[in-house]
């Protein structure tokens, strides 16, 4: 994660995953509920796959959001020395 002080909070990968799958989950759930034709259903062998996938993605998003907020990133006070070029 980013090492530069306060910026770390803005750039938490878990939050990005939550946002992307939150959007995907909502879009697919709405499409599955309101815009699914018989043809779409027949294609997926009778399963409303958009709806179920949408719900699944929304759950994934919720898990990552919960993880992000229950265990926020702690920026280490002392940045460990990485010794760039130390082998020369």
């Amino acid at each position: 994660m980013a090492e530069k002080g306060q910026k770390a909070g803005l750039f938490d990968l878990r939050l990005i995953i939550a946002v992307l799958f939150g959007i995907y989950g909502v879009v697919l759930t709405v499409v599955g509920l309101a815009f699914t034709s018989d043809e779409d259903l027949a294609k997926a062998d009778g399963l409303n796959i958009n709806l179920w996938s949408g719900i699944g993605m929304f759950v994934l998003a919720a898990v990552f959001a919960a993880w992000t907020f229950t265990k926020p990133l702690v920026v280490p006070e002392e940045v460990p020395e990485a010794e760039p070029g130390g082998v020369h």
Partner: protein, 563 residues
């Protein structure tokens, strides 16, 4: 690609699908922009400043390997060979990943090297270093080219985009986020890509299984076709091309499970780099082991769709029976199944997943190429002792140069029917002897510098000779039609490397022991090989040995169930 195949494969993508795709691209580029703010040194850019948590590097570890070629190739193998394809995931990955984490990582991470070639330079000096740095850089650019070619074909077939346009767009996206954010951006995107790929393939597998009447329905239908061998993992004679079942099993266990797999997973810098970017020794050791859990499970959503395609897609059925499939090849199995089963919406996610997996592959190639180029070639041999900003700039330029060369090499891949054969050939040239040299070098302090590079060269030549002898387009004197040639080639390379290294060592001076601390087992104090168990590394569930044992048990159980 024949015209008919193109018309056959066009996906019916609508604006909704494109919106889902565009959202993904926006997030990917956003990560590049955000990651840029944390890049201030070359180490930040090329090794993420060694600051990432283990779950991130662990998922990136397998995602870097989950390129489009892997996906399409393994689904193709699933359709062609059935369940034996799991060997590539189970015996062909898990033991090596656990070995890397438990046995080799203490030397890689503990010695603070910045790349795999750099380890060779410190252990064996310039000869082995140059051989490895050059061959690795070459292989990465070639493989990036293969990935680009696969993507271009895919976009052309699925969406009708012209091949040059799709190459440029995709290359630009990868280039943008890797030059901006460096390895952090590549790794963050790999983790995202992992989830998108699962989100695309899991629903596809569920719909497919529903269609064929569940797992039992699939088994019944394949058995009715007379494809009983495709339902058990062993002895996989079709997969290896070795008709004797006993030799076939030996080929898989030694050739794939030991030589090819250990060579690839433990010495390929595109993989090891993910672990080197972890924030502590414990996290670095856990990286490949955490990656091993999804690696053990993911064949279910890659290979099973291939097997489903073999019973529900007429063209794939025709291929199985050796008939005419209108120019379709096994590599189109996954796109065909997606077109058949997924409605708009999920179709967009599936297209996004395929593109994401392509980008995972290319980004891994490019982000490991630029590190080796910058630290191992430019800094060691061309311009030493410049300020760090200079090497940061070289790293960014190497990213650009590598991508441009990759575009040029995309066409090398086009001469081969099954893309996997080509990839395997490359791996066996460069990777199989490497593992032999590493394992000798880490555990045998007497091994000399000359033995390091002579062994590598001998092993690589051995693999090339087998490849030339087995390829029907070249000499064709060895009869190994399936993947057998690469298994044998890798085994020969491994044995030759060991024999030549031992013999050369007998006649040359050993490396002074003072220089080998942290690099060789017997000369590294135990304290330097162990990881901390406090703070973020505390807790029994963070023990590398326990996690490693767990995934080996899981894999054994899977083999017992699906053997």
């Amino acid at each position: 690609m024949p015209v008919l195949a193109q018309a056959d494969l066009r996906l019916d993508a609508n604006p909704l699908d494109y919106v889902l795709l565009v959202i993904y691209f926006a997030v990917v580029l956003g990560i590049g922009v955000m990651a840029r703010r944390s890049v201030s040194t070359s180490l930040d850019f090329l090794l993420s400043g060694r600051s990432l948590p283990a779950w991130v590097t662990g998922l990136a570890f397998i995602s870097a390997n989950l390129g489009a070629i892997e996906l399409l190739g393994m689904a193709a193998n699933g359709a062609q060979y059935g369940l034996p394809t799991v060997h590539y995931y189970w015996i062909g990955a898990i033991p090596a990943m656990v070995f890397l984490g438990l046995v080799m990582m203490p030397f890689y991470y503990g010695s603070k090297v910045r790349s795999v070639p750099e380890f060779l330079r410190r252990r064996f000096g310039t000869g082995a270093h140059l051989v490895n740095a050059l061959s690795f850089a070459l292989a990465q650019v070639l493989i990036a080219g293969v990935n680009l070619y696969a993507l271009a074909l895919l976009l052309n077939l699925l969406l009708g985009w012209p091949i040059p346009l799709s190459i440029v767009i995709a290359a630009l996206v990868v280039l943008t986020y890797t030059t901006l954010g460096g390895l952090s951006a590549a790794i963050y995107n790999e983790v995202l890509q992992f989830f998108v790929i699962v989100a695309a393939l899991l629903p596809l597998t569920i719909v497919g299984l529903h269609k064929v009447g569940g797992w039992n329905g699939l088994v019944d239908k394949l058995t009715a076709k007379g494809a009983g061998e495709e339902l058990g993992a062993w002895p996989a004679t079709e997969l290896t091309g070795i008709s004797n079942p006993v030799l076939s099993v030996i080929g898989i266990v030694f050739g794939l499970g030991f030589v090819l797999s250990f060579g690839y997973w433990t010495t390929n810098f595109a993989e090891v780099q993910r672990a080197l970017s972890a924030k502590s020794m414990s996290a670095a050791r856990r990286t490949p082991i955490i990656g091993a859990f999804p690696k053990a499970l993911i064949p279910f959503i890659i290979i099973i769709p291939g097997m489903i395609a073999a019973v529900v897609i007429p063209q794939v059925q025709a291929l199985n029976e050796g008939g005419d499939a209108n120019g379709i090849t096994y590599n189109e199995t996954l796109p065909l199944l997606i077109r058949e089963l997924l409605p708009n919406g999920m179709l967009g996610i599936a297209i996004t997943g395929l593109l994401a997996s392509f980008m995972a592959g290319v980004a891994a190639n490019v982000s490991s190429f630029n590190t080796v180029f910058t630290y191992d070639l430019w800094q060691d041999y061309v311009r030493k002792d410049r300020p760090d900003e200079y090497y940061l700039r070289v790293g960014r330029l190497a990213t650009l140069g590598g991508t441009i060369i990759a575009i040029g090499t995309a066409f090398i891949a086009s001469g081969y029917g099954n893309i996997m054969d080509y990839i395997q050939a490359l791996f066996s040239f460069f990777n199989a002897p490497l593992f032999a040299t590493f394992i000798l070098g880490m555990f045998w302090k007497r091994m000399s510098a000359a033995a390091g590079w002579i062994g590598l060269v001998a092993g690589t030549l051995g693999a090339v000779v087998i490849f030339v002898m087995a390829d029907p387009k070249l000499l064709g004197v060895l009869d190994l039609p399936g993947q057998g040639a690469s298994f044998v080639g890798a085994s020969v390379a491994f044995v030759l490397d060991i024999v030549v290294s031992v013999v050369v060592t007998m006649f040359t001076k050993p490396v002074p022991e003072k220089q080998l601390g942290g690099l060789v087992y017997s000369l590294t104090p135990k304290a330097d090989r162990t990881h901390s168990t406090t703070g973020d590394d505390a807790g029994w569930y963070r023990s590398p040995a326990l996690l490693g044992g767990g995934v080996l048990v899981l894999t054994t159980a899977l083999y017992i169930i699906f053997g």
